[in-house]
Amino acid sequence: MQQISEYNRRRIRMGIWFSAPAVIVLLTVLAYPILASWVLSFLRVYFAGQGLSFRFYGLTNYTELLTNQLFREALLRSIYFTLVEVIVVTFLALIVALLLNHPLGRHAFFRVVLLVPWALAPVANAVLWKWIYNANYGILNQALIGLGIIDRNIIWLGSPVLALNMILLADIWKAVPFIALLLLAGLQNIPSHLYKAARLDGANAWQQFQHVTLPGLKTTLIISIVLQSIWALKVFDLIYVLTKGSPADSTVLLNYLSWRVTFSNLDVGYGAAIANVLFVLMFILSLVYIRALRPRKTKEKVG
C-alpha cells in the first residue's frame, strides 16, 4: 500500500515538474496583458502624455457596446463567419485527409502540396488574394470571363455580402492544410485491425467510415472544431489587407473592430471590452463543444 501511494506521489511531483516550464512561460508572458485587458475594460483610457492616463468608468464601456449597432452587426457577422468556416473547413479537411490516407495519396508529394498554402505568410496570402480579387486585373475575373461564365467584371470586394464571403473563401483556403494534417495524423492512429474486423463483419466502405473512422477521429475532430472556431473568430489580417472593413463596415468582424477601436481611435478601454466579449464567446463555445462531446470513459491509472 505504502509503495503504491509513494509511486503516485512521485508521479504527481513528476507531473508538476513536467508541466512547470510551459505554465511558467504562459504565466510570465500572458498573465499581465490578459489581466490588464480585463482591467482596462472598466476604465476610460486617455492618451494624454506620459504614457496612459486612466479614469474609472464602471460598466460604461460594456453598456456602450450593447447599445452600439456596429458592435451588434460585427458580432452577428463573426458568428456567421465562424459557423460557415468551421463547417466547410472540417468537411474539406476530412476529405483531403481521407484522400491522403488512401494508398494512392500516400506519396510525400501530396504532403508537401498540403504545406504550401500554409507556408505562405498571412500578409502575403492576404495581398495575393487581394490581387486575385482585383476588380480590373484580378485573375478570378479574367478567368471567369475567359471561360464565359460571366460577361463583365464582378467587384468581389465591393458589395457587402460578397466581400465578406470572399474573405471567408480566402481564409478557408489557408485553414484547410493544418486541419487536414491533424485529421490525417488522427486517421493514422486508428488501428487497422478495427477496419479488418469491420470488413470481416461485412461492412462496406461507408459503414466502415461511419463505425470505425468517425468514432476513432472523435477527439481529433473536437480539437479541430474548437481550434478552427477560435481562429475564425480571431481573423484579422485578411480584413486589414483586403477591405479595411469596407464597404460601409460590412466586413468589420469583432477582432478587427477591437483593433480599430484600440489602435485607430485610441479608445483602449472600449477596445478591451470588445476583446473581452470575444474571449467570453470563445470560452463558452469551447466549453459547449467539449462538454457535449466528451468521451465517457474515465481515466485509468497505471500501477
Binding site: 508521479r11 504527481i12 513528476m14 507531473g15 508541466s19 510551459a22 512561460v25 504562459l26 510570465t28 508572458v29 496583458p33 482596462l40 476529405i95 484522400l99 494512392l104 495519396g105 500516400r106 501530396f110 504532403r111 508537401v112 502540396v113 504545406l115 504550401v116 498554402p117 507556408a119 505562405l120 505568410a121 498571412p122 500578409v123 502575403a124 495581398v127 488574394w129 490581387w131 479574367q142 492544410p177 494534417l181 491533424l182 490525417l184 495524423a185 493514422q188 492512429n189 488501428p191 477527439t219 481529433t220 480539437i223 481550434l227 477560435i230 480571431k234 489580417d237 489587407v241 477582432n255 477591437s258 483593433w259 484600440t262 483602449v268 474571449f279 470560452f283 466549453l287 497505471v302 500501477g303
Partner: protein, 278 residues
C-alpha cells in the same frame, strides 16, 4: 464486380487528389507568375502572360540588401526554430503530465491553458509592449520567441495530450513493471510512438512563428526584422508593388516548404509506423 467498384473508387480518388493539388497550388502558382512579370504586363486586359515578358527583375530588386529580406529570413529562421524546439519539448512534457500523471486540477489547468489561446491577440499588444519595453527586450529575438511560445504552447499541449491519452495503457504498464520511471516511460515508450502528432505540431509551431505578423511589427524596430515584415515593406501608402511583394513572399515561403521536403521521410515514416503499430 469488386474490381469495377475498386477501379471506380480509384478514379474518384485520383480526381480528388488532382482537384486538391490544383486548388492548393493554383493561387501559389499565380503568385509566382505575378512575381515574374512587370506591372504593365499584369494591368493589361487580358493580362499579358507572354513568357517572353518574364523577368527576374522583381527578385533582383527584392534581394537588394536595403530591403532586408535576407536578414528577415535569418531572423525568422532563428525565431521559428527556437520556438518550435522549445515549444515541443516543454509542450510535450506538460501534455504528458496532464494526460497521465494524475495532476490535481488538471482539467482546470487545461482549460486555463486553452483560455490563453482564446484571447484576441490584438488587444494584449499594448500591455505586452509595455512589459517588454520596461524589461528592455523590445527588438530582440528573445522577446518574439517568448511571445510566440505563449501563443503556440496551448495548442501543442492540447493536441499532444489527446494523443498521449490514446496511447495504449498496456505499453506504459509494461514499462512500469520493468521498473521504468515516468520520465523514462515518456522518453522511450510514449514519444517514439507519437511521432506523427509531434511532427504535425512541430511544423505548426514553426510556421506560426515564421509567419506571425502583428506582434512582430509592434515588438521589433530595426534589428529583428522578420520575413513577414520584409514582405510587408512593399505595401506602402502610395504604392503596392505587387510583383516585388509576391517575389519576396515566394522567397520567404521557400524555406518552410524546403523543410517539409527534408522532413518528409520522418513524416512519412511516422505515418507508416503508426499504421503498422497496431
Amino acid at each position: 464486380m469488386i474490381s469495377y467498384k475498386h477501379q471506380l473508387s480509384r478514379f474518384f480518388v485520383r480526381m480528388g487528389l488532382a482537384i486538391f493539388t490544383c486548388v492548393a497550388l493554383g493561387p501559389v502558382i499565380w503568385a509566382v507568375v505575378t512575381s515574374l512579370l512587370p506591372l504593365t504586363a499584369l494591368t493589361s486586359r487580358p493580362p499579358d502572360l507572354n513568357p517572353l515578358n518574364m523577368t527576374l527583375e522583381n527578385y533582383g530588386l527584392v534581394l537588394d540588401s536595403s530591403r532586408g529580406l535576407f536578414s528577415g529570413l535569418i531572423n525568422s529562421f532563428i525565431i521559428a526554430t527556437f520556438t518550435s524546439a522549445v515549444g515541443l519539448v516543454i509542450g510535450s512534457m506538460a501534455a504528458y503530465a496532464l494526460a497521465r500523471l494524475n495532476m490535481p486540477g488538471s482539467s482546470l489547468i487545461l482549460m486555463m491553458i486553452l483560455a490563453t489561446q482564446m484571447f484576441p491577440g490584438i488587444v494584449i499588444a499594448i500591455p505586452l509592449f509595455l512589459v517588454m519595453s520596461r524589461m528592455g527586450i523590445v527588438d530582440t529575438h528573445f522577446a518574439l520567441i517568448l511571445v510566440y511560445l505563449s501563443f503556440t504552447l496551448p495548442i501543442v499541449i492540447w493536441i499532444l495530450k489527446a494523443f498521449f491519452e490514446s496511447v495504449p495503457m498496456e505499453l506504459e504498464r509494461a514499462a512500469a513493471v520493468d521498473g521504468a520511471q515516468p520520465l523514462q516511460t515518456f522518453q522511450h515508450i510514449v514519444l517514439p510512438i507519437s511521432l506523427p502528432p509531434l511532427f504535425a505540431t512541430g511544423v505548426f509551431v514553426f510556421i506560426e512563428a515564421w509567419n506571425e505578423f502583428f506582434f512582430a511589427i509592434i515588438l521589433t524596430r530595426i534589428n529583428v526584422k522578420t520575413a513577414p515584415i520584409a514582405i510587408a515593406e512593399f505595401s506602402g501608402q502610395y504604392q503596392t508593388l505587387y510583383g516585388q511583394m509576391l517575389a519576396s513572399a515566394v522567397l520567404a515561403s521557400i524555406p518552410v516548404v524546403f523543410l517539409a521536403i527534408i522532413f518528409r521521410r520522418f513524416i512519412l515514416e511516422g505515418f507508416v509506423e503508426g499504421a503498422i503499430k497496431a
